[in-house]
């Protein structure tokens, strides 16, 4: 009789794998599998201007498509025991009203009829948003700190929420003065310049603050956002538009909870997350969750500009990895024809003989790769 002889070492491996080879399996409980298309309401009721509401649906976690917009819904702003103001669908899922001037003494709600079901928010008091006193900045060693200050003489606002829109002007790494059109190298006309662009970014983090601990309703230099010192946003000129919304205590708590609710997904060492409860209910089937919190307020705005000359010289974005290629005559089509390389300038010898062109990859030359050359109307 013969036995298979397993070496001691192999046996150990085998045993260890048994102990430690934890096994991971897909876990898809029914509730996750089933199609959860809950209504998502974003936006606020503007008490002094047009109200814009976005309606969409939630998706299953495993879906990778864009979220479905809720179209053909009826959306109205309703005064408690009073007027109704309809919203029109101006784009798929986007509903907008005329500029409204709501009575601050009344309460309003949002009423939605979508896919045969009726939804309504609670009636909410109108919050008058005080004006932004100042948006200031400070060049700290590690970045540009943007701050906002405001106050309410009536001491009644107390809870604030801010959003901001950043925009900045920047240059491409190489300034192209020629272009390759239909196999020809031509000079760029001023309207075809691609070295100066603008980019935009909206706030994604939730910015809230309150003045509960102060004897006066004064927000002084609330740190809103810090632009890192090495950000390309600060290359030439940076602008930020700060929008301020007065909040009720309840809406403030909603945003605070949303901010804290972790966006990482329950791994072993993550805290347990919790559902947020907004103030919108489905009237037709009360059990159906509805996502969103409707508040009613006016909005105040303030914009500032910061140019690179005002900032410390140590603020520098890292140089992109760009190399200047020399393209000899006759190689133009091969190099520029595909569109991934852009010509920069002509190469002329001391004897004024054109021997070729300078070129580089598109992101190094064409600033439109990331932004637009169209200068915003507000740009100074």
């Amino acid at each position: 009789m013969r036995f298979h002889i397993i070496s001691l070492k192999t046996a150990f491996y085998w045993l260890c794998l048994l102990f430690l080879a934890a096994c991971e399996e897909p876990y898809n409980p029914e509730v996750i599998e089933s199609s959860n298309k809950f209504l998502v309401v974003s936006g606020f009721i503007n008490s002094n201007g047009p109200t814009t509401i976005l309606l969409s649906r939630t998706q299953n976690l495993s879906e990778s498509s864009a979220p479905q917009k809720e179209t053909n819904a009826t959306v109205t702003v309703e005064e408690e025991n009073g007027e109704k103001f309809p919203l029109m669908e101006i784009a798929a899922g986007t509903y907008s009203s005329n500029a409204l001037a709501l009575n601050p003494a009344k309460k309003y709600r949002l009423f939605i009829k979508a896919s045969g079901k009726e939804y309504a928010s609670e009636y909410v008091t109108v919050q008058q948003t005080p004006a932004i006193d100042a948006v200031t900045w400070e060049a700290a060693s590690d970045g540009l700190q943007i701050k906002v200050s405001t106050h309410d003489d009536r001491n009644s606002t107390r809870y604030y929420r801010w959003e901001y829109e950043e925009s900045w002007e920047y240059l491409s790494f190489y300034h192209s003065v020629i272009e390759y059109v239909n196999g020809q190298i031509m000079d760029r006309t001023p309207d075809k310049m691609i070295n100066l662009c603008y980019r935009f970014n909206n706030s994604t983090s939730i910015q809230i603050g309150n003045t509960l601990k102060l004897s006066q309703d004064v927000v002084s230099n609330f740190p809103l956002v810090k632009v890192p010192a090495n950000s390309d946003k600060l290359d030439r000129k940076y602008s930020i538009l700060v929008k301020q919304y007065a909040q009720t205590k309840e809406s403030y708590e909603y945003w605070e909870a949303l901010r804290k609710n972790t966006e990482s997904l329950g791994s072993l060492f993550d805290p347990l997350p919790t559902q947020l409860t907004g103030n919108i209910r489905c009237l037709t089937s009360p059990e159906e969750p509805v996502i969103g919190y409707v508040s009613v307020s006016s909005v105040t705005e303030k914009r500032i500009f910061v140019t690179d000359t005002e900032l410390p010289p140590s603020y520098r974005a890292p140089s992109p990895a760009c190399s200047f290629d020399t393209v000899f005559l006759g190689e133009e089509a091969a190099y520029f024809g595909g569109g991934s390389n852009i010509p920069i300038d002509r190469i002329i010898t001391n004897d004024r003989v054109l021997i070729g062109y300078g070129g580089a990859s598109k992101p190094c030359v064409d600033c439109r790769t990331l932004g637009t050359t169209a200068k915003p109307a507000y740009w100074e």
Binding site: L15, S42, N261, G266, D270, Q275
Partner: protein
């Protein structure tokens, strides 16, 4: 059992070597007797007719008279006859009829052999004791229980106050306690220690009682008992875990002492799973109390083959755990921090090793584990749900001994023995893993970078100064280190030390003064990236002093009183850069200090044998002490960073918050019949320290937080009602216990709470209210070839956060299941013994899956993708189900072996069910997918070799 001739005194003086020979003779004789053929003939010794006339004379006089007139020779244990008087009048009668008259009305039996040997025995015990006495012939004579007593030198009755402390080892001898008086009446007190005859270890929790009138007591953790009895003759019965049912005959005249040594129940070594005092279930005062003996614990198979105390505790009704590898216990709906875990009276904060796969207690040195879950004695406090008391052995006082085990992942070794015989003993034990080495050998890269190791050390010295003063020193040290993949290196350490001084003032009063020190700390080192290299640490220290007094006031009252004080010193967290390149900014949380003090008094009143009461009151007080700065928050709004009004600064030693309150401990027992009883209890507990954990399981990075100005202590009330019945001569126990519990101000987390390095933790937690209720049904069979228990528990535990002034409202302010709410639980622990050397056990456990909050959808708000979660804990992970199987193979039972060994072969998770350890979601290529991780997803075979010498 041995016999000695009254006339042939040389036997009792002969060298010990003769004893073996004597045993054999005795055995042969006994065999004759047992065969039922009581021979009475005169083939060798001719039948003689005798004349005696004795009136109230000692039995010895009868023997003398007979031996003088004939060739009959008597063989007996002197104790069997030294206490009774005979009256016999006979003229020319055969010996058999004379003896019949003499022993009539006693339990003496006699037999007369052909050779003229007269054997006298006490009938019943004669047979029962045969095998043990015969097989134990190598045991040193002077420590061998009954055998020693027979040597005849011991006939002098034991008298209280005698300097040479004799140990009551004989069942037959009459021990006289106190000063003999004529016609004495009233009561007298008997106190003493109950010890193991072989090792001198105290025997805990054994019942010491007389039957009529029924007066009973239980030995405490030092094996001490004190019992007030009516003056007169009694048969004192002793029953307990792992010891033979024994009795002592005694005549008590006045207060006195009696130290009793009893034998280990060798026969039941693998037979009895949990042999509680046989009728404690019904007759004991305690409810909701489980006492596990090591031999019970050793039978339950575990994942890595090593005996695991906590794992067995988790099989008890009302005790649950969130995760498979976790030793965090949830007792009757309490959270994992609500259990006071005492190891030789020192608090253990992290009772686990290696992510909870091993418990922190070396099984070789543990003597017993006691879990109190409803009626918690007044002497304990500071936790809401339970007290788990782990007691180690004292160390062998008689001889040097050792034990150990070799498993696949761990090995352990214990040495113990006397430093000065019967006075001082020591015990040292160590345990370590070689998992680290194994991981390094693995071919897979992640395993190579991983490491996991632990070790623990125990040391103990007990010294008995005199009969009244004993000192116990105990130390414990454990260290764990692990690294998963190439990430951070985690380590944690437990350090405990305790000193106990037990002083007996007199028979009825003794005190124990305890000083203890406990340390728990962890560190996380991340040094992979020199720029981010950092070290995070947490540390807590506690020093406690406690004085406990036990006063056995009378047969009806047992009064306990005492006081304790604990000084906490916690450094809640720090983050420090490591190396010169590190850019980590140091972040150190303020130290926290506090003093927790308590006084208590309790009285156990035995109103009648059927009805007893326990009344206890504990008053505890907590002072959070400076130096410290605390935040003052706006009143009536949730504490958030934005509601901070002011920072208050307190100087060193200044009290920044004081909490105090009474804790009631009441229970009552009413015996319905001899075999059934009803018990009820009411308990209030207060807890001043809280565990902060960012996971549902117990993890090494859990930190502890002291109550302070912003975190209130937890208060819990529990009422419990139980019915207990024993069947079949107390071998089958049945119990039903129901409870309802209310908890106030225990900590639950707010949405997205940050636990680690939070300077204002009060903004992330909230004082929640909780309630728990349930019914626990248990059926235990204690003896027989098949033994074990089966239990079913229905329990709910619910939480509510409904106070807008405290936090955001969770789940619309409704009650929601806590993280460890597992309504149904069925556990079966069974053992079947095929022979003395081979036994098997099969365990089964089922429980409802734990609650979980699921991400059920995703959505885009503004331009940010967010996850929509279900209501908190609205869903459950799949049910938990596991079957384990183990075989124990003992080496032969030859007593004179160098070492005794046993093999344990076990299969954990026999059916290979993939029970989820954790459930998580991960984004893979933009799709969020759910996964469940099972750690022991296939059957795990293990083999362990244990030895003892």
């Amino acid at each position: 059992m041995n016999l000695s001739s009254f006339t042939a005194k040389t036997f009792s003086l002969s060298p010990f070597a003769c004893m073996n020979h004597l045993y054999r003779i005795a055995f042969f004789l006994l065999v004759l007797l047992l065969s039922g053929k009581t021979v009475c003939s005169a083939q060798v010794v001719p039948e003689t007719f005798l004349t005696v006339d004795l009136k109230q004379a000692p039995f010895q006089d009868l023997i003398k008279a007979v031996e003088a007139q004939s060739k009959y020779r008597f063989y007996f244990e002197p104790e069997t006859v030294d206490s009774f008087l005979v009256s016999v009048q006979a003229t020319q009668q055969p010996l058999s009829s004379i003896l019949e008259k003499a022993v009539s009305g006693t339990n003496l039996k006699f037999a007369i052999t052909e050779q003229g040997h007269v054997l006298l025995t006490q009938g019943k015990d004669f047979m029962a004791n045969l095998p043990d006495g015969f097989f134990r012939r190598d045991t040193p004579i002077n420590s061998s229980g009954q055998r020693l007593a027979a040597a005849g030198a011991n006939t002098k009755p034991y008298v209280a106050g005698e300097t040479s402390r004799k140990k009551a080892v004989s069942e037959a001898k009459l021990y006289e306690i106190g000063v003999k008086r004529e016609n004495a009446t009233g009561n007298a007190n008997l106190a003493g220690h109950l010890r193991d005859a072989n090792s001198g270890e105290p025997i805990i929790g054994a019942s010491v009682y007389i039957q009529s009138p029924l007066l009973a007591t239980t030995t405490d953790q030092y094996g001490y008992f004190s019992l007030t009895l009516p003056v007169g003759q009694h048969e004192l019965l002793i029953r307990g875990i792992g010891i033979k049912n024994s009795k002592r005959r005694l005549a008590i005249y006045s207060d006195g002492k009696l130290d009793i040594e009893v034998e280990e129940d060798v026969r039941s070594l693998k037979e009895v799973l949990v042999e509680a005092e046989k009728d404690r279930n019904v007759a004991g005062m305690q409810m909701g109390m489980e006492r596990l003996d090591m031999r019970a614990i050793k039978q339950v198979p575990t994942a890595f083959g090593e005996t695991d105390i906590l794992r067995v505790v988790l099989t008890l009704p009302g005790v649950k755990s969130v995760g498979e590898g976790s030793t965090g216990m949830n007792v009757r709906g309490g959270s994992t921090d609500q259990n006071l875990i005492l190891f030789n009276d020192a608090t253990v904060y992290n009772p686990s090793h290696l992510f909870g796969f091993f418990s922190a207690f070396n099984p070789d040195i543990v003597k017993a584990v006691e879990l109190h879950k409803s009626n918690i004695p007044a002497r304990y406090g500071g936790r809401l749900s339970s007290v788990l008391e782990v007691t180690t052995r004292d160390g062998n006082k008689k001889k040097l001994a050792g034990s150990g085990g070799i498993g696949l992942l761990t090995s352990r070794l214990t040495l113990e023995g006397p430093i000065s015989k019967d006075k001082t003993s020591f015990l040292v034990a160590g345990r370590s893993t070689y998992s680290d080495w194994l991981l390094k050998k693995l071919p897979q890269e992640t395993f190579k970078k991983s490491s996991a190791s632990f070790y623990d050390l125990n040391a103990q010295i007990n010294h008995e100064f005199d009969s009244k003063n004993t000192l116990y020193l105990s130390g414990y040290f454990s260290k764990d280190k692990f690294r998963l993949g190439s990430d951070s290196l985690y380590n944690f350490t437990n350090r405990n030390a305790s000193v106990k001084w037990k002083h007996i003032f007199h028979n009825k009063l003794y005190s124990v003064l305890t000083g203890g020190y406990s340390h728990y700390g962890y560190g996380v080192n991340a040094e992979n990236n020199p720029v981010n290299a950092s070290k995070m640490a947490f540390e807590m220290n506690q020093v406690n002093l406690q004085a406990d007094f036990n006063y056995f006031l009378s047969s009806k009252h047992t009064v306990d009183f005492g006081a304790s004080s604990i000084l906490y010193n916690v450094s809640p967290g720090s983050l420090q850069p490591v190396g010169s390149e590190s850019l980590i900014t140091p972040d150190v949380l303020q130290r926290e200090k506090a003093l927790e003090s308590a006084v208590y008094v309790s009285d156990q009143i035995d109103i009648s044998p059927r009805f007893s009461l326990y009344l206890g009151l504990r008053y505890s007080m907590f002072n959070a002490l400076g130096p410290r700065e605390t935040y003052l928050y706006a009143p009536n709004v949730p504490k958030t960073e934005s509601s901070i009004l002011d920072t208050l600064s307190y100087g060193s030693g200044k009290s920044l918050a004081t909490y105090h309150g009474p804790e009631y401990r009441l229970s009552a027992r009413f015996g319905l019949t001899d075999h059934s009883s009803v018990k009820m209890s009411f308990n209030r507990m207060r807890q001043y320290i809280h565990m902060l954990s960012n996971t549902a399981t117990m993890s090494p990075t859990d930190t502890w937080k002291l109550s302070d100005a912003n975190i209130r202590p937890q208060v819990g009330d529990q009422v419990a009602l139980g019915y207990y019945q024993n069947f079949r001569a107390n071998t089958v126990e049945f119990s039903v216990e129901g409870y309802y519990k209310k908890m106030k101000d225990f900590l639950d987390y707010r949405n997205g709470a940050t636990i680690i390095l939070n300077h204002h933790i009060e903004t992330d937690v909230a004082n929640a209210e909780g309630k728990a209720y349930g019914v626990e049904v248990m059926l235990k069979k204690l003896t027989g070839k098949l033994n074990g228990w089966v239990s079913y528990t229905y329990s709910r535990t619910l939480v509510r956060l409904n106070n807008p002034a405290v936090s955001e409202i969770i789940n619309q302010g409704n009650w929601y299941p806590s993280n460890f709410d597992k309504p149904h639980d069925v556990t079966l622990i069974s053992n079947y013994r095929f022979s003395q050397r081979f036994s098997t056990s099969l365990n089964f456990t089922y429980s409802t899956g734990r609650p979980i909050t699921l991400p059920i959808a995703k959505y885009t708000d503004g331009n940010v993708q967010r996850i929509f979660y279900s209501d908190r804990n609205q869903y459950r992970v799949p049910d938990y189900y596991r079957v384990d199987f183990a075989m124990n193979i003992e080496g032969n039972h030859k007593v004179r072996k160098l070492a005794h060994s046993s093999w344990t072969l076990a299969v954990y998770n026999l059916t290979g069910r993939k029970n989820p350890y954790s459930v998580y979601f991960r984004s893979d290529n933009g799709k969020i997918k759910g996964y469940k991780l099972s750690i022991f997803g296939q059957p795990i075979p293990t083999i362990t070799y244990n030895f003892r010498f």
